[in-house]
Amino acid sequence: MFRNYKALWLALGTLIILSPLGLLATGTAFGEWGLDELVEEVGFIPAGLEKLAEFWQHSLLPDYGIPGMDATFSQAAFGYIFSAMVGVILVSAAILILSKIAKD
């Protein structure tokens, strides 16, 4: 898993460390406004959207942050790096499992 691909994992690790750069763009992407942003961005909350927006409430690290740890930039940056690490572990584990299933 790691032996032959050291440079790839090192590059990925570097990106994880640098990921808080992504926090500097504070604007929400077009069409991704949360319920708390819609009135300001759009002027109203569409009725159907309001009903479905909270469909999934089990995100453990919402918005790539640790809940409650968003007071300062360094707290947010820590949560962001932590989220990137968790994401990398979950994604690569899922790929290993899927590949195993696909091979059998």
Partner: protein
Amino acid sequence: MHIPDGYLAPQTAIPLLVAAVPLLAVGVKKVGETVKKREVPVLAVGAAFSFVIMMFNLPIPGGSSAHAVGAVLLAILMGPWAAFVGVSVALIIQALVFGDGGVMAIGANCINIALVMSFVGYYVYRMIRGNADSTSGRAVVAAFLAGYVALNAAAFITALEFGSQYHLFQAADGTPLYFMYPLKVAIAAMMSEHLLLAGPVEGIVTSLGMLFVSRNYPEMLSRNMIAGGKNWGVDSHV
């Protein structure tokens, strides 16, 4: 580009979810057939790379943001089906664990971002590279253009899904029920951001990724390292 829950009507989101399941099943089967055991770590890193690249939000003048995806680099290295599966895994985990993109919208997002990007990027790359060597300058240019075109294709289909909701689903008094702007507004907003900023960044990510791989792992790219030519990488996953 991750569509949250509520922006698509269930009548749109659920059929896309239903369509994504067999497509992913085919993708996993193709991974079993085309991705060799020693390449599995590359697919794992590539999917994880896509996950992290999507966290690098780029500021868009006017207060919005966008990001690259990294799907085309994976498609060039591992083939479009493997890239589709890898990026879909990243998108599903983003939705479930990080609330990025809706859960009912997982099908739409896997189709827009993972499927469309991987296939468009892969075939644009092959077309432009032609018979040039995978480590040639032409291949680097092809990688840039493939990333650029593919991200914009994904943005365009996302805009179509967004905008069509406005025309299809309105309350009795004419107010939109889900996505709230007409097609032309959705297309103008999505395309200006991705044509001008996120697209070029996807192109740079793709071509820099290719340069990184050709420097550190030339065997992934060269076609004739092993006698018989059927090596891994670019040309063995069609």
